[in-house]
Point group: D2
Chain length 294, copies 4
């Protein structure tokens, strides 16, 4: 299939390379051009502008946040430049409000729109093992299914309204943050009573909580290894604020999310912006002044 | 081995039956005698008083809470009645403060004391698949190891000080409560935006959160099936208050536990005491008045 | 002095009438023209457009929120239409971020800018008893001092940077919300133990909390009289979110504000949008299911 | 009247001296005898034991907490030693549960029991300006009214059930803690945006919050003067935990109290136990790392 791909961060690059590996004709574009080179060497065509990348049947995008999506697609005019009938597959984690607005803007212009946010880090993207949440018109989803299957190990359909995939992604990231905070508080409690984080988390992550989320972040917390960040604290705050905003719009109180927001702000106030969000464990330990204890 | 077992609720009965199955000579006692009958039919000797059950090399106990342990062992004088050198294996989920006090009271009397709280519900106890946290003097632990191995699939040693096993159990139950609340809030958010709890939790509990804790409680939440309770709300409140009390004693703030306490109280104020603690999902939905929506 | 006044809600109308009473030549404008009539009958000149109201030495504005201020002054082009040297006195409760942006936009165009948000309800505005927070260049403040003194009983200078007056106003409204919530929770607690809200609040608001904030809202809570709203719940949510956003921008955790946000959302989810924000007491009582008790 | 007074801390001593000043015959007792001397010099008779102090018509007590009250009256046997018909006026801030138990224990022994906790610090006690909450049988209250009027400026009757006075006192102290926390968070927010705590609180405590609670603690926060403590952090934690326990017993969620508990624990974890509870402002500033900012 003739596909464009824009947004070539660690995630986007890995995803685009899997489209190439599956034999699709991929044209890539990225704001800073350097990121296009590895893909070019794998056979991608490099577009000089975003709209030149958008001339295939399908355009996939993996941009960083609401602002980047707005700048490229709305303010930057890319939507206006696309041919009627093109399918846009948006992989970004964006707000529910923007997802709704994009659905309308695409419809107005006769463009098909599929929201397809993903769970998984760059290594899983590279291994084509992403879990992909999908929402949009079923005809459009069917057209892009081969692409999604080339990038992920499993598709999770969530209905016609694209924002449903986004709210599920936001709620999932909130659950991740809550899992980290619960380990942060639990280990602060056990440490204060003489049980190390490593010993305690070994039990938990091999029994009741034997799941990737707990095992991955539990290991970082046990080893107090918060650098380099797999997912940095400011991104965590962004995602928790997406949950709070979606909750506010729909009148849903989210007390855990409120606690998470404060803990993330506290981490950032300590100038820990470059740390992984599992550094919420540092915040919990600091609140209890554990490292100053005997 | 000659073993006594007191406290024959669903958990204790299943555990004692596995001791019998492993060929140990077990004498049982329970406050209400009816619970002893099934074990008698499996070969247990039934003691008329607690101290008659405590005349073997080892006494295991699985009582409901601090109050029951205090009544039997301290106020009821059982500790005073036991022979020097006997090992007491306490499986109950009790407070850190009581655990510390019991360690002292046993030591004073020349009794060995092992804390061995467990993770697992009655069906896992019946299948001898409990995860058993163990703390106490290593010589005492070695003596009772065959018993523990007859009841559980895995032992998790946590050092000499018995209260360490208890704080780990308390912190683990806090993590369970937090997992439930995070699903409760996340599904309130997705439901308000059109994604059912079942659809959302199917994704999460098969991917990042593919762990027993999330799959078990996630299923109950997806199906809104809170009766009969596997673990009733008042027990959940008791355990969260154990965490808060342990935190208070050691000056450890636990903001998630504070939220959990309020949500559990709200559930109980609604007269939902007989429901499973996964009914925290009802509280989150009620706060958002979801069931009154279109 | 020749003054324009735009934004003639209950507050703005009362403030403008005091400028008239003090002998100033006031030209008024309001989006919906009906609000101009009472002022016209008091001697105000009615402008057909916002920029015609902005042709005096000073322009006062009292608009509802960020969006209204943005629409009139930035998107609507009013700033571009004003003569260099004019002083704009902005009485609205707006975000810190917009306050900073406005300061820059005025400076660029050679306009003086004074932030002057107020504490006080319409009856205090009518009686010229507002407390006015003031920040901006001192020369500009001196020029408009006679106007401010005609509208308020006291000016509270907070320095050169206009946003300082806004953050103080936001923090003050947060304190009001917190005072209401603390009465809401305290009376839920006393009611559950047999002491009525009226009896309890009579003690508190005549002793330690003998202040306008507590006496005013305490009376509404004691009498469960939440309609008509002096300050409706959605406005309360808006202001608490201004505090949270200002906190987020400056990395300041605000746990009480997080609780307030959730309680206000819960009130709104119950379709109580038309109630006064003292109806936080309803939320606290509902959480404890007090009205279903004996 | 012939009155005993036990518990001669700063509050009790000042209260007893006012009974002497009003012409009553006062016999005093205190665990550590040194505290009795100043009262002896004012004319008090000094008892060698608590029960010798309890031989008048009325016994007033002002002990530190539940534990002290339990030790003297229940475990220490003072209730058993008192003559039928004696009125015990208990001024201590105790738990609702103990208040209920004491009411029963007095009734069993034919003793009258009046709960009379107070609002006011030692200087107000010395000036006989306390606000006294009173609950108990009205006949008993009438008998002790002259004593209460000698110690306070105003009595606040709250009904027959003694625990009602205690729950009101607990709820009132919770409101004080919430007022401090709200100033702590509000000033963290304004400071981060360039408005000093002193400037901001000057506005608030002279306008909407012109009440003793805000003016007193606001001054300490503005001046960052947390030593010597008027009311130390551990006492604050004790009182917030009384509120939480009373809430738990009656199934009343108290989210603000949960936040307060954590902030107080955080202060104590920082080894600030000797500071006044207005040092909650330190905690809020530390969370935002304000003092490390430029």
């Amino acid at each position: 299939m003739k596909v464009g791909f824009i947004g070539l961060g660690a995630m986007g690059s890995a995803m685009a390379s899997n489209l190439l590996a599956a034999g699709h004709a991929v044209t890539v574009w990225n704001r800073s051009a350097a990121a296009t080179e590895p893909l070019a060497s794998l056979g991608a065509k490099v577009a000089r502008t975003a709209d030149r990348a958008a001339q295939g049947e399908v355009l996939c995008s993996m941009l960083a946040n609401d602002q980047a999506v707005r700048e490229v697609f709305l303010d930057g005019g890319l939507l206006d430049a696309m041919d009627r009938g093109t399918v846009h597959v948006n992989h970004a984690t964006i707000s529910v409000a923007l997802a709704q607005q994009l659905a309308e803007e695409h419809a107005k212009r006769g463009l098909a729109y599929v929201a397809a946010p993903v769970f998984g880090r760059p290594d899983m993207a590279a291994a084509a093992k992403l879990n992909i949440l999908v929402a949009g018109q079923s005809a459009a989803i069917e057209r892009v299914r081969p692409l999604l299957e080339a990038m992920g190990s499993k598709l999770w359909p969530l209905g016609d309204a694209p924002e449903r995939a986004n709210v599920a992604k936001i709620a999932g990231n909130f659950m991740l943050a809550a899992a980290i905070e619960s380990m942060a508080e639990a280990t602060a409690l056990t440490r204060a009573h003489g049980v190390s984080a490593a010993n305690f988390l070994e039990v938990m992550t091999n029994t009741l909580f034997a799941a990737p989320a707990y095992q991955g972040y539990g290991k970082l917390i046990a080893e107090q290894r918060f650098k380099p960040a797999g997912f940095a604290l400011p991104l965590g705050l962004k995602d928790v604020e997406l949950a709070l905003t979606a909750g506010s719009a729909a009148r849903v109180p989210l007390p855990f999310a409120g606690v998470l927001r404060d803990s993330l702000l506290e981490a950032l106030a300590a100038d820990d912006a470059e740390l992984d969000w599992s550094a919420l464990a540092l915040v919990a330990a600091r609140r209890a002044h554990l490292d100053e204890r005997g």
